[in-house]
Point group: C2
Chain length 390, copies 2
């Protein structure tokens, strides 16, 4: 394929997407060498694109999704029928402006929205992988994305951006493929997962594996779904995404039926009903084994440890421009973790700015309508685009 | 019974206890009128005592236990074989000095260590109550304790003291039976349960009821135990008892097997292994239905709402001496909730002191070796004892 053909095919695919929220799927010919030492092949990567790749192929923005996110950033979600998870951030005239940038988002390896994951069919057996899929890490997710860029003929990223686990991927991109990331915007994230966060993930995994319908991970083969366990995992996690003040403001002690306690175990309080709904709707769109794999990938993330215990070493010699953003009320990824990243980047003499955004919206703020985050993102991308001549 | 006989029998019982950690059980003749409108009869209350009731019966200290605590405050626990949960606080020469005070602790109504609860036999059917036991509240727990005092011939308490749900009972005692509480020491608690705390409880309840071995609450009849669900509930709750810095210091990202990740779902991290142990050991000593009942009682607690929306009204005209204590790193019952209690007590012109203790031990600090808490307790009790002429 010559350059013009690549450009044409990528953009034609993008235009098809506008009419059809089903994802593109790249069949990657090259095996993915995993951090565990195993190899994953064949590898399929499901992705969405928005906007048009320019002639220089210099305007690609990779959006990295979070634990339970997926590639449906700014289109109607094919399962839920809801707007994409970052449709306020990504689109024409939005902070990540699809009139200027070619935006790519791929489902992570280990995920369940089309990219190879535990629910995918293992061609060697003709059955779903289940737990026979090798464990994947954040590094493996990023290496899979790099293979996707190779596949698309995109040499490097103008920007890698994402929140939470997406932010981990952004940091990993900058450390692992420094020459392929012009700018990086990690949001509400950290360079390693904390003990408390590992603990919450472990509770979720225990809830799933405690469900007899999980069937030792073989539920797809045996025709069951560990709905209850997965719902409990989601409920526990969901609490950590919101701040205590936000819960207080949104729900407080409000009853479902005003002034009436049932003196029973129904969902008397609105917060109970809300959580139950979160759990029940999650199981309709997410695979339980994927939840095990992707939480494990986050637990394993420790970029400093991967570089001899020095986070600064991970970014040695970096030319990437960084903007690190955190939220005051985020107790899952508190500002302290962002500061550690910034200190390491400073120690590596990197070009870095740091914004702590005041909000009571908690960790979920990166997904919500937070004007300061939009302004930060737009400002950072505009400045970087100027330097890059976009 | 004349007074001397009562004194003798109470103290003889206390002496028997020293040799035998099995609890005394009071069969309460009077039905317990519950907040729900139901009546509970017969009512049995299991309790422990330490020290000797004085001739004036003026030195009784009621220790109120927390969610998963019980009456075994300062003796070897009959199930776990471990020292009582507050043996550092209660005993000869300890801050709650059993050489001076007659200490009582009773298992709460709804509990599972001998007091009437869902695992008790319903005399009407000859089967365990299960979910047919009416729901109980913090007020019901306190009214049951008041009936126990009547039974023991103890007119009033020199002090009511407890942490977490124990502190809720202390506040409820002062509001409900103001003439029977000379002094009150609520620790690490609040006058109402927050939305976040209700949310965590709901996750625990969902984990239990999702377990097929729960059998719609009839597991005792059907010979099963919802071990996995109860363990998950305990694990989720346990995270909230510790502070993030304490988890970081105690476990951080330490691996079980130094420097070796298994790239699987075993308990690679020490924090995972610790949580699994907490879950597994809890199911050996606690009843799943009791967990539902007692968490629900905490959720329902809102002392201000019970008094027309004014917490100050709950304490109107109080003569009780209060000391309110909180811990800086307690995110389950943060200092803010303690402050609200203190403000209400001030508005009610109560005699109140307030101590916020700096510690990184989180909510569990009330159970741990925290010298400032011991000093606060001893100082408050000594001063109150002086006023009372003890």
């Amino acid at each position: 394929m010559n350059e013009a053909t690549i450009e044409l095919s990528v953009n034609a695919a993008a235009r098809r997407e506008a009419d059809n929220p089903r994802s593109l799927v790249a069949a990657i010919g090259k095996p993915l060498k995993l951090e565990s030492g195993s190899t994953l092949a064949p590898l399929r990567i499901a992705y969405q694109t928005y906007g048009v790749l320019n002639r220089d192929r210099s305007n690609a923005v990779l959006v990295c999704h979070a634990l339970t996110g997926d590639q449906h950033v700014a289109n109607v979600h094919p399962v839920t029928g809801k707007q994409g998870w970052w449709s306020t951030m990504v689109g024409p005239g939005r902070p990540v402006d699809t009139d200027r940038f070619f935006v790519i988002c791929s489902n992570v390896v280990g995920g369940c929205m089309g990219t190879t994951g535990p629910a995918s069919t293992d061609p060697a057996t003709g059955e779903p992988y289940g737990l026979s899929l090798p464990l994947v890490t954040i590094r493996d997710m990023v290496d899979a994305q790099a293979l996707l860029l190779d596949h698309l003929g995109i040499p490097d990223l103008f920007c890698a951006v994402g929140g939470s686990m997406g932010g981990m991927q952004v940091l990993q991109w900058a450390a692992r493929h420094p020459d392929r990331v012009f700018s990086a915007l990690p949001i509400a994230t950290a360079a390693k997962h904390s003990a408390q966060n590992i603990a919450f993930h472990e509770v979720g995994r225990q809830a799933i594996t405690a469900d007899p319908d999980w069937r030792d991970g073989r539920y797809l083969l045996e025709g069951s779904i560990p709905r209850k366990g997965l719902a409990v995992a989601r409920m526990a996690a969901h609490i950590t995404y919101l701040s205590e003040p936000a819960l207080q403001t949104k729900f407080g002690r409000n009853l479902q039926d005003r002034d009436r306690r049932t003196f029973g175990f129904d969902a008397d309080f609105q917060i109970e009903s809300y959580l139950r709904h979160q759990g029940a709707s999650f199981v309709e769109r997410f695979d339980a084994n994927s939840y095990l794999y992707v939480t494990r990938a986050m637990d394993y993330f420790d970029l400093g440890a991967d570089h001899g215990g020095s986070l600064a070493a991970a970014f040695k010699g970096t030319k990437t421009r960084f903007c690190v953003a955190s939220f005051t009320s985020d107790w899952l990824f508190p500002t302290e973790g962002a500061r550690q990243v910034v200190h390491a980047l400073n120690a590596a003499a990197a070009n870095v700015s740091f914004v702590e955004i005041a909000t009571d919206k908690g960790h979920d703020a990166f997904l919500l309508d937070v004007p300061e985050l939009f302004a930060t993102t737009k400002g950072f991308l505009d400045a970087a685009a100027k330097v890059r001549g976009l």
